[in-house]
């Protein structure tokens, strides 16, 4: 029976690649497809004409965003992705990863939500990282004239600050500082012509919340940065007191239901009272997912921490809410 395949293959990591038109996504994709890295990646793209590669590992998608009939007004998923990701699992041989490119103007939420909502996608794949490629030269202009540019930054686990050859070091620092006001937690890599080590982009396990939340950006723990109502901002709260799971569930469910449209991403690592394992929580708009992960280390302080990236966030109210979850 040597031909029988392994029944349950480990989930295949999926990298979501976002970024404005012209930022360098296609260059990066072409490198992933043509470089001799010894790995097998499937690529789901939307604008095939730009890619210089023709093989059956490239799948042409029609970015079809569907509403789910599950009572969440902003619960949207990518119907085409559900079909394609399930379909790729039916091919023989192991894939090292799948890269999903979104169009320049795309809202990343439906892509991310697809990984929480669909049973087949959940079984076969895991969201590894949302990678946003931005153009150091033009990012500030894009942020000024479009809402999507900031959303793509807000969703990112990794930001590739590309076209560094076109800006001065001072300009680059200014762009980076601006990025940090939107998303202080994402890892940031500077590059020219999308030249970044591929292992930094793919198979990073960046959605691994514990790691992301471990390094708290210094400038964020202080006071509010000034923002306009429609600007994306980030807040984080920590507590040393153990969390009561029931109180937390009640609070977060209500918060996501009432405020989910403004909350782009919510992530948390929680120390539940009487529980040795850490609880990892995350949400995209109203769609939430949580699971126990590795135990707290011996002697490690059991801080619970929650991070919000979104619009129109009320810091005192969110703080009171989170602190009210203490056991």
């Amino acid at each position: 029976m040597s031909q029988i395949l392994t029944p349950d293959r480990p989930p295949i990591p999926v990298t979501v690649l976002t970024g404005y038109l012209g930022a360098g996504k296609t260059t990066l994709l072409n490198r992933i497809l043509t470089e001799n890295h010894g790995k097998k990646f499937a690529v789901v793209i939307n604008e095939f004409g730009e890619l210089g590669v023709d093989n059956d590992l490239v799948v042409d998608a029609d970015e079809e965003v569907f509403e789910m009939n599950n009572g969440c007004i902003c619960c949207t998923v990518r119907g085409d992705l559900i079909r394609i990701l399930s379909g790729l699992m039916q091919r023989p041989g192991k894939l090292d990863g799948i890269i999903v490119e979104t169009t320049g103007l795309a809202d990343p939420a439906p892509v991310a939500q697809t990984f929480f909502v669909d049973e087949d996608v959940k079984r076969a794949t895991k969201l590894d990282a949302i990678v946003t490629v931005v153009d150091a030269k033009n990012l500030l202009a894009r942020l000024a004239d479009s809402k999507e540019a900031a959303e793509q930054l807000a969703f990112a686990d990794l930001i590739v600050l590309n076209k560094m050859d076109l800006v001065t070091p001072e300009e680059a620092d200014a762009v980076e500082a601006r990025i940090r006001t939107v998303n202080p937690w994402a890892q940031l890599i500077r590059s020219e012509k999308s030249r970044v080590p591929l292992d930094q982009v793919i198979g990073r396990d960046a959605f691994n919340l514990a790691r992301i939340l471990e390094h708290e950006p210094d400038f964020l723990s202080g006071e509010d940065t000034h923002t306009h109502d429609d600007e994306i901002q980030s807040l984080s709260f920590e507590t040393d007191r153990p969390i009561d799971p029931e109180k937390f569930n009640a609070w977060i469910s209500d918060l996501l239901a009432t405020k989910g449209q403004d909350l782009l991403r919510t992530k948390g690592i929680l120390a539940y009272a009487g529980e040795d394992r850490r609880f990892a929580f995350q949400a995209v708009h109203m769609i939430a997912d949580g699971d126990f992960i590795s135990p707290w280390k011996q002697g490690e302080p059991r801080h619970s921490k929650i991070v919000f990236i979104g619009r129109d966030l009320n810091r005192p109210r969110l703080r009171r809410g989170f602190e009210g979850c203490a056991a």
Binding site: Q3, I4, D56, N69, P92
Partner: protein, 346 residues
């Protein structure tokens, strides 16, 4: 292999033939003459077996780049296949391949239908391409979003296609192609039409079915499934719609005013394992079911009698079909295990 001759596997062991083909079985079909059957595999091949001598070597026909997404019996003989390479191919029973259409690389051809009257359908993206028996493309019917399922009515005259926010109903021979839109909010992922053409039913992303009675457009909502319904079909009599997606074969009654306001009949339930495929017998109210643990069985609707065909343990059933005479049942699994069982009186 170490499978013991246990009760559940008795029919496969004593009256069947099986092979492990090492790739996901996407679909299985018998051709209309009933002389051969073909398994479509995840590795892009089609494997053809003789019904009379299934123990003889199966023809291995490499057809598609990537995966052979679908196989159905073609209009008169042989098969129609679609693949990841955007091609629609006719395969003769002897294995000779002839391309009927190419819809562009990287476009998956996942949903097919064919009718003896000389109608072939291939859904690619938002289009349903209609071809005649000679292979000429008659028309391409456009939909508002990707087509996720197609079916022809029993006469081969009407086409139904499922998509986002509902289904579309077309006539093959219409001079002017204007669909009747059957609307229901949400993502519809598969479709079936009643043998008498009276009802259309779709499966939905939200693990429920939706239906329309065509005479008055009345809606039917059939919910309560723990999983998505990836497989469904009407019994030959038209009395029952057999569906996968639950721990039992769920049968909705299409008589006596049903299914509106009627509870479904559930057969072969009991374990926590979901039905992954159903296939209705071509002559009797008998339903074959495959489960996600690999069990295959038959159930007689009127008596509820269950007969096991193949034991669990070789992968989730991903393909299941009867031959036109109803004497042979074929199945395949996600792990590449394929079987065909002769159930005729011996």
């Amino acid at each position: 292999m170490g499978t013991t001759l246990n009760d559940a596997d008795a029919l496969l062991q004593t009256r069947g033939t099986s092979q492990s083909l090492g790739a996901w079985v996407m679909a299985v079909a018998f051709c209309r003459t009933g002389k051969t059957l073909a398994f479509a595999l995840g590795d892009g091949s089609l494997r053809i077996a003789e019904v009379a001598t299934p123990e003889a070597e199966w023809r291995n026909v490499p057809v598609h780049q990537g995966t052979t997404r679908a196989v159905v019996a073609d209009c008169t003989d042989g098969y129609l296949t679609g693949g990841d390479d955007g091609r629609l191919v006719h395969i003769a029973p002897e294995g000779e391949a002839s391309e009927l259409a190419g819809f562009g690389a990287m476009k998956w051809v996942e949903n097919l239908a064919a009718h003896p009257a000389g109608v072939r359908l291939a859904a690619v993206g938002r289009a349903v391409h209609v071809l005649d028996g000679k292979g000429d493309r008659l028309k391409s019917l456009m939909h508002p979003s990707t087509v996720t399922g197609v079916a022809l009515d029993a006469k081969g005259k009407r086409i139904v296609a499922s998509h986002y926010n509902g289904a579309s109903l077309w006539y093959v021979a219409a001079k002017e192609d204007k669909p009747r839109l059957l609307e229901w909010k949400g993502s519809h992922i598969g479709i079936a039409i009643h043998p008498e053409g009276t009802h259309v039913v779709t499966a939905m992303q939200e693990a429920a079915l939706h239906g329309w009675r065509l005479e008055d457009g009345q809606h039917m909502r059939m919910s309560g499934y723990p999983g998505k319904t990836r497989s469904m079909g009407f019994t030959q009599s038209g009395r029952w719609l057999a569906t996968a997606g639950s721990e039992a074969i769920v049968l909705w009654p299409f008589f006596g005013g049903g299914p509106m306001g009627k509870a479904p009949t559930e057969l072969a339930g009991g374990d926590d394992v979901l039905v992954s495929r159903v296939a209705c017998h071509p002559k009797h109210d008998v339903v074959a079911a495959g489960f996600s643990d690999g069990l295959v069985l038959m159930a007689e609707v009127s008596s509820g009698k269950i007969v096991p065909v193949a034991a669990p343990g070789r992968g989730a059933i991903s393909a299941l079909a009867w031959n036109p005479a109803g004497s042979h049942l074929a199945f395949g699994t996600e792990q590449g295990f394929c079987g065909v069982v002769n159930l005729s009186r011996q």
